[in-house]
């Protein structure tokens, strides 16, 4: 399953890299790319555990940069 987010108010490039690194460690995620310049996150998830995984991912994003607002597209 492919999911895309706009990360509003993503201000720090290093944070984007950190998010990408941490999310890629999740078992349920087969690939993730956080583009700082476009403020976008593209995820490829394993089918089954979507809802729960998305919550985890949101938590990671908020933990690294609390001001970021996630918007699913």
């Amino acid at each position: 399953m492919k999911v895309k987010y706009i990360l509003e108010d993503l201000d720090c490039a290093n944070c984007a890299a950190k998010m990408e690194n941490e999310i890629s460690k999740l078992e349920e995620v087969s690939s993730v790319s956080v583009s700082f310049m476009n403020a976008r996150m593209t995820l490829e998830l394993l089918e089954e555990c979507a809802e729960e995984t998305l919550n985890k991912i949101e938590k990671i994003v908020k933990k690294i940069e609390p001001d970021v607002k996630l918007k699913k597209i």
Partner: protein, 613 residues
């Protein structure tokens, strides 16, 4: 007040207070101290709060935390001006970074200002202004002068000129009339057009292109990954070194003071943030991709922009890239009648045929065909046409047709397809038709060689003589002719197997029948990709026009971007290491560290923004 203005105001207020505290000797030194502390709070409050929040989130070693420790450390050893200055310059750097990022984002946005806001759809004989995504297939939309074409479609009424520059980078407007297919994202310049929609919005050219650009930076270049990995280790290592620097000397040398070494350790913390580097690399690629898009070159990922600079072999599929893919009359030889007459008779014979050769003959004739003069036409598959026009029996076709009808003629050896003509059983001449080489092809090949392409290989399904002639004319190094589409793929595989080291192979095609090769090569470049779904999907770089010289432009943009990225990496890492070393031995202090850090950021970002131009 906007966020940015607030930040600027804070910087100014705190800077003024800092200056006052430094130069004026107040009678009570607590006033100076109060000024320092107050200016520190104004400028640093948010950073400290963020640092605390991050620690609660178990996010150690982020930039806020590092700045907080560095400045609080400075306050602890009574270096008040340094503490405030570090915060002020850190904020200036941040502000500048945000400005640069915002500016780049905006310029890409404006570049992508092709998104149509509405469509005028005709429903129940009334024009309704609705969202383009609500228009259904086969509905009729109206496009007034000055409006954007909202969806792909076919013109059913009206004629006009279109500005396609935002799609193709081509500045000359394009004339269109009834029956023409037009693409969303173009701007209608003159007349009113009625268009039958052939693709819903999600599948229209404009949304595909927007999607492509928006996702381009998701595919990261190697140097981008290198820098994020570097950042992951750099900060912890520098922080560890800072701790060691503060602790070890004070244990070893009994007579030194702790505060000297602590100050040196603090300079480490000030330059431990890798932000400039981490931001400048994607910023450069983003700029490069944007600059390319401006010229009608769509790069689908930062990695491809990086790879195309390493290309040394270009494999080109001839038709549609080097040649126009349309047949054109090259030569007319007439015996006993005028050339015009010969062409006229053949055009009449071919009138009802849709064969590419017939079309090229009709195009060459240009004048209107009087259908009443065509009496009977017989199409002989694989041979040509037998027809009666203007009351004369005419044969138009290849040598076999002539032989079968026992016509004595001279067999001609020329490049291209040769059409022999016989009138009333008498040989009357021939017409040579061939695929046209694009005007810019020679120049384009020369430029490619000049900028470092070692080998240009042409693949074609055409006859060997034609292929050799084209190759010779253009200066192509290797030719493989008479290939079936599957053979082309096989050839490409062989070429890829023989490539050298880290060099890359690019394949250039027009997207028709060569999608597998576009996907297989290191860098697949689709020409004239606009409107062809297969090309856009399977290629890595889409050249919107069918101008082959854009390939060199793409390579140049790529090389420039890579150069900027390298400059930034070497410059930023170099300066940081230098200041770290000087800081460790006590030559440079916190002031220099702040300038090094913010200065490097600003210079790296300014350099990165050059990639756009």
């Amino acid at each position: 007040m906007s966020k940015t203005k607030k930040e600027i105001l804070k910087i100014i207020i705190s800077f003024v207070m800092l200056i006052l505290a430094i130069i004026i000797k107040f009678p009570n030194e607590y006033i100076n101290l109060a000024l320092y502390i107050l200016s520190y709070i104004i400028i640093g409050k948010n950073v400290v709060i963020k640092a605390i929040k991050n620690i609660l989130n178990k996010q150690w070693l982020d930039e806020n935390f590092l700045m907080t420790i560095a400045t609080i450390g400075a306050i602890a050893i009574r270096e008040y001006p340094e503490a405030v200055a570090v915060m002020i310059f850190y904020q200036i750097g941040e502000l500048f970074q945000n400005y640069a990022v915002k500016k780049s984002r905006n310029s890409i946005q404006s570049l992508m200002n092709i998104r149509p806001d509405y469509a005028n759809v005709i429903r129940n004989e009334k024009v309704e202004k609705i969202d383009p995504s609500e228009v259904k297939l086969d509905e009729i939309i109206e496009i007034k002068a000055g409006e954007k074409v909202a969806l792909d479609g076919i013109i059913i009424d009206g004629n006009s000129t279109l500005d396609t520059s935002s799609l193709t980078g081509e500045s000359i407007p394009k004339r269109v009339q009834i029956g023409d297919e037009i693409l969303s994202g173009c701007v209608n310049i003159t007349g009113l057009l009625k268009v039958r929609v052939t693709k819903v919005y999600e599948e229209s050219t404009v949304s595909k292109i927007l999607d492509l650009i928006e996702n381009a930076t998701s595919k990261k270049a190697k140097s981008e990954n290198f820098i994020t990995r570097f950042a992951r280790y750099y900060t912890p290592i520098v922080v560890l070194l800072a701790i060691l620097l503060a602790v070890i000397p004070t244990i070893i040398y009994k007579d030194t003071s702790f505060s000297i070494w602590l100050e040196r350790a603090l300079t480490f913390l000030v330059i431990s943030c890798p932000c400039a580097l981490v931001i400048s690399v994607p910023l450069s690629f983003f700029g490069g991709i944007g600059g390319a898009a401006k010229q009608g070159i769509l790069v689908k990922g930062s990695n491809y922009l990086e790879d195309i600079s390493k290309v040394n072999t270009i494999v080109v599929d001839k038709t549609g890239t080097l040649t126009k893919g349309t047949f054109k009359v090259q030569k007319i030889y007439a015996k006993d009648i005028s050339k015009e007459e010969l062409l006229k008779l053949t055009a009449y014979c071919e009138y009802n045929s849709n064969h590419p050769i017939a079309i090229s003959l009709k195009n060459e004739y240009k004048e209107k065909v009087d259908v009443s003069k065509i009496e009977q036409v017989e199409e002989l598959t694989g041979l040509g046409i037998k027809a009666k026009v203007f009351g004369k029996q005419i044969l138009v076709g290849n040598a076999t047709l002539m032989r079968e009808n026992n016509i004595s003629f001279d067999e001609i050896q020329e490049i291209g397809t040769i059409i022999y003509v016989a009138i009333e059983g008498e040989y009357s001449g021939y017409i040579v038709i061939s695929d046209e080489i694009k005007e810019e092809a020679k120049q384009a090949i020369d430029t490619m060689k000049k900028i470092g392409i070692d080998k240009i290989i042409m693949l074609t399904g055409d006859k060997n003589e034609i292929a050799q002639a084209v190759a010779k004319k253009l200066g192509i190094d290797e030719v493989y002719s008479e290939l079936l589409p599957t053979d082309k793929y096989q050839r490409l595989e062989d070429i890829m197997k023989n490539k050298l080291g880290n060099k890359k192979v690019a394949f250039v095609g027009d997207g028709i029948n060569d999608a597998p090769s576009l996907a297989r090569s290191d860098v697949g470049i689709a020409m004239g990709g606009i409107g062809s779904d297969a090309a856009i999907e399977s290629s890595d770089i889409v050249i919107m026009t069918d101008d082959i010289s854009k390939i060199s432009n793409a390579i140049n943009i790529s090389k420039k971007t890579i150069k900027i990225v390298k400059q930034n990496i070497i410059f930023a890492i170099g300066i940081k290491i230098l200041v770290l070393v000087l800081g460790a031995i006590g030559i440079s202090n916190i002031w220099e560290a702040v300038f090094a850090d913010v200065g490097v950021s600003v210079i790296a970002i300014l350099n990165a923004m050059r990639a756009m131009r």
